[in-house]
Amino acid sequence: MAKLVSLVSGGIDSPVATYLMIRRGVEIVAVHMDNRPFTDDKNLDKALQLVRHLQDLTGTPIRTYIVPHGPNHIVFARNCNRHLHCLFCRRMMYRVAERIAEREGAVGILTGESMGQVASQTVQNINVVNQVAKLPIIRPLIALDKQEIIEIARKIGTYEISTLPGLCCTIVPEQPSTAAKLPDVIAEEEKIDIESLVEKSLEGMYVLAPEAL
């Protein structure tokens, strides 16, 4: 059975994407990038509740990694162009997910991205974040609109969990770039030691076994 690393936030989209791929017979390893202190504790709680719900719903055990991402935000915000922040964030998520995939023997990364939904999810920006990954990025929701995603979320019972109170990321820039250029993003990333950030994220992460959820 093919295995994918699924980036699971506490939001509406990623659990739906994960569910759709489980239904296709894919084994899932969940990764939650923990944005605290730029979100609150409720987002982590919601992500874990969502994984537990998907386990119960599908009868599939899901191992879950929780990775500290707040310190990465601080480094990017202090050293790099603020308009590109969401791209640095996503590229870092993919780097970490790829390292976890290596460890888990997974063959791709699964995300709940959907075209045009937020600033980082334009075609140009998706191209920029794609360039950082060697593994394929699977985006089952890419062509769905929000209402279609919500309908599936309601049907599978994740909507109620995803919409529980939880603070959105507060370090999102005032004017995020919607059409970033790869050379600009790479030039900014060269100002910092990306590899050391990835290593620190991996050192700080912890894993929850399916039965621990």
């Binding site: 202190p37 730029f38 609150d40 409720k42 707040g70 935000h73 601080i74 480094v75 990017f76 915000a77 202090r78 603020r82 922040h85 919409t163 529980l164 109170p165 939880g166 603070l167 959105c168 507060t170 370090i171 820039p173 005032e174």
Partner: protein, 105 residues
């Protein structure tokens, strides 16, 4: 200084919106607030804790107050405004009060 508090979309926090357009020098804000609050992070936004309420202070003057209690959010926004108003951390814009989101009553 702040005229409106509206709940964030998931009701986990309140947002305080400046009555007039101004920007904040977050370095100066940090210096001013350090004696009275705990500074959690200064990185694009200034994240502080005051009386167990976490507040994100943005360059455009917005505050995100991490509490579901409107009374506490109002009190905290007022307190922060009191600390910053009249200091050189706050720069009024020439078109103050004239545009977009800052025009809300």
């Amino acid at each position: 200084m702040y005229s409106l508090l509206k709940p964030c979309k998931t009701s986990a926090a309140f947002e305080a919106i400046p009555r007039e357009r101004f920007s904040l020098d977050l370095d100066r804000c940090e210096e001013i607030l350090r004696p009275v609050c705990t500074i959690v992070a200064h990185a694009g936004v200034l994240l502080i804790v005051n009386d167990r309420c976490e507040v994100s202070i943005h360059r455009d003057g917005r505050l995100i107050l991490k509490t579901g209690l409107q009374e506490l959010a109002t009190e905290q926004a007022g307190r922060i405004a009191g600390w910053l108003e009249g200091t050189d951390a706050l720069r009024m814009h020439r078109d103050a009060g004239m545009s977009g989101r800052h025009q809300r009553k």
